[in-house]
Amino acid sequence: MKIYDLPDKHGHFGPYGGTFVAETLIAALDELLAQYRHFRDEADFQAEFTHELKHYVGRPSPIYHAKRWSTHVGGAQILLKREDLNHTGAHKINNTVGQALLAKRMGKTRVIAETGAGQHGVASATVAARYGMECIVYMGSEDVKRQATNVYRMKLLGATVIPVESGSRTLKDALNEAMRDWVTNVENTYYIIGTVAGPHPYPMMVRDFQAVIGREARVQMEEEYGRQPDALIACVGGGSNAIGLFYPYIEDNNVRMIGVEAAGKGINTHQHAATLVTGRPGVLHGNRTYLIQDDNGQIIETHSISAGLDYPGVGPEHAWLKDCGRAEYVAVTDEEALSAFHALCRFEGIIPALESSHALAYAAKLAPALGKDQLLLVNLSGRGDKDMITVAQQSGIVL
């Protein structure tokens, strides 16, 4: 691939991305873009971001060779980028630290966030506490019920969690409600979007903050293995952990990039969240991208065992990487993800997040077809402590 310099100045990744919002939000997005462009190259900002990632988040996260599991699976060696070891237990914190530092410099005293499973809500509440800002988290009322522990975690961190009763009462509705708050309180409020979706500049900005994952991986792979991996594998809901790993590899055509979506109960049922595998392009949440929608252009409710992948859209850069063929997108079912979840627990003593278990499941499918000298780098984007109740339920156990 020739020099990759997307998005263009209007936030487009080919036909995707852009700024599809009501006029009432344009000024806020213009301000955000101008401030982000100003600070992202500023030495002081970068130094503080790097310092926080090291001392607060605990970076760099190691690359770990899952030897026993690789042997059990057979074929290629499976390496794990350990984002699960980050403070708060997932990659989400990389982005919220970056955006909180920006919010602080913009003089905002109040941050808002949307959350599905609660991971981004927790990461936002965490940085709001760390930097002394008020924090409001919008969460679908269905999710509030399903994720009681994370709701309490956010409250402990000082955030206010507002249950959203509109629409399907899940992540997409929480995002709608956060946008409504932002448009009403734009003077003092910074909206921390948790994934590489939303209007420009969010997909670019969140990618830039998450790209630390791939930059570290390049250095670590060279140091430990003397070469880069043959393939990168990451789960894709909105797609922030995947882009974070992929981005520094985009021009490196020798490295396959594979995004793994949630096939839920199967892509032939209506209960999945495999947006790139089954959806078609449209406009939602401020950008043009692939969507799971009906013939009338209404957004359809999605399903995944993993709340973090349960989203009917996907980041516009993934839409572009799919169309231009640079990345491949596949889907694995709830059942396959659960099986990989248990395997990693037993063979490696690592409890992965259900989201990340989708990437693991695909690695386990791909590895046997490859030689033992091949290296698959899987982004272990989060730890599974939050998923105890869900996994127990699947085994018919009440905790």
């Binding site: 209007h10 852009g18 700024t19 599809f20 919002v21 009501a22 006029e23 009432t24 344009i26 000024a27 806020a28 509109s166 629409g167 997409k172 509705d173 709608n176 946008m179 409504r180 448009v183 009403t184 734009v186 392009p281 449209g282 406009v283 939602l284 949440h285 401020g286 969507l291 929608q293 013939d295 009338n296 252009g297 209404q298 957004i299």
Partner: protein
């Protein structure tokens, strides 16, 4: 001269302001929509804004969200909305109908297909909330090819250079969002509206409608002092929501009549007094 232009020029000749009610197509149920449209006209509406239901109405407050949900309960799609307009046009060939909604249902039908079907149905203008001027060059062209007016939003935070950009694209009228927030909010500040409208008017020659947050006759009259048209949405939807089916048409009729009366008082009363009174 198209229906929108002739409506505004007739009103101007009579020294009157345009009343533009908004309802969502298919709310509270599909068979009521055309009846409601006729009732709005009978009560004194000059232009009708008809909402295209959408699953994710990001710029709307809870009232209009619920109206979309009620319509979607009956699976009302864009094709159904156009059928309703066709039905309305069978007995009304003068009142302009503006479709208002979000991009995705339009994209699902395709810009060109939509523009042709909308023209055939008798649609006069279209306002797509999440198509700002930067993202809709091709869309505007498709509408213009069918002689449908592209309507655009302006907001309190729209800088001058963007107003100028909108001035080049917009036809029919522009819709000034009177407050920072979503539809149905209740913190309208008339002094702010007045100041910003003066700037907008110096840059835009087509009529200016004002909406978001106009909840009663007093506010409607005060806004009519400043604008060419007053858009009322959430308040009418509340009336639809709170009425029994048998009383619905009468209740909406009474509400719209009271708004009409308020608008028509504008040029017969001392305007500064109204503005003052409405601030209280």
């Amino acid at each position: 001269m198209n229906r929108i232009t002739s409506t505004f020029s007739n009103l101007k000749a009579q020294n009157k302001k345009a009343l533009i009610p908004f309802i969502t197509a298919g709310d509270p149920e599909p068979k009521m929509t055309v009846m409601l449209m006729h009732a709005l006209v009978q009560a004194g509406a000059d232009i009708i804004e008809l909402g295209i239901p959408f699953s994710d109405p990001m710029a709307d407050g809870p009232t209009i969200q619920r109206s979309s949900e009620r319509a979607l309960h009956y699976h009302v799609g864009l094709t159904d909305v156009l059928t309703m307009v066709t039905e309305f046009r069978k007995t009304n060939s003068v009142t302009p109908v503006i479709l208002m909604g979000y991009a995705n249902p339009i994209e699902a039908m395709g810009h060109g297909n939509f523009a042709m079907a909308a023209k055939k149905a008798g649609v006069d203008g279209v306002l797509i909330v999440d198509y700002p001027p930067e993202e809709c060059e091709e869309w505007v062209q498709q509408l213009q090819d069918q002689k449908i007016d592209p309507i655009f939003l302006l907001s309190p935070t729209t800088p001058k250079r963007r107003v100028e950009k909108v001035a080049k694209l917009a036809k029919g009228y522009v819709y000034y969002v009177s407050l920072k927030g979503v539809t149905g909010a209740s913190h309208l500040n008339l002094v702010d509206v007045s100041n910003k409208l003066a700037e907008v008017r110096s840059l835009i020659s087509i009529p200016i409608g004002v909406g978001f947050g106009i909840r009663d006759s007093v506010a409607a009259r005060a806004v009519a002092e400043l604008a060419d048209a007053v858009v009322v949405g959430s308040r009418i939807i509340e009336e639809i929501e709170n009425s029994t089916r048998s009383a619905l048409l009468d209740n909406v009729n009474n509400l719209v009549k009271s708004l009409r009366t308020a608008l028509d008082e504008v040029n017969s009363t001392n305007s500064s007094q109204i503005l003052h009174a409405s601030r209280l």
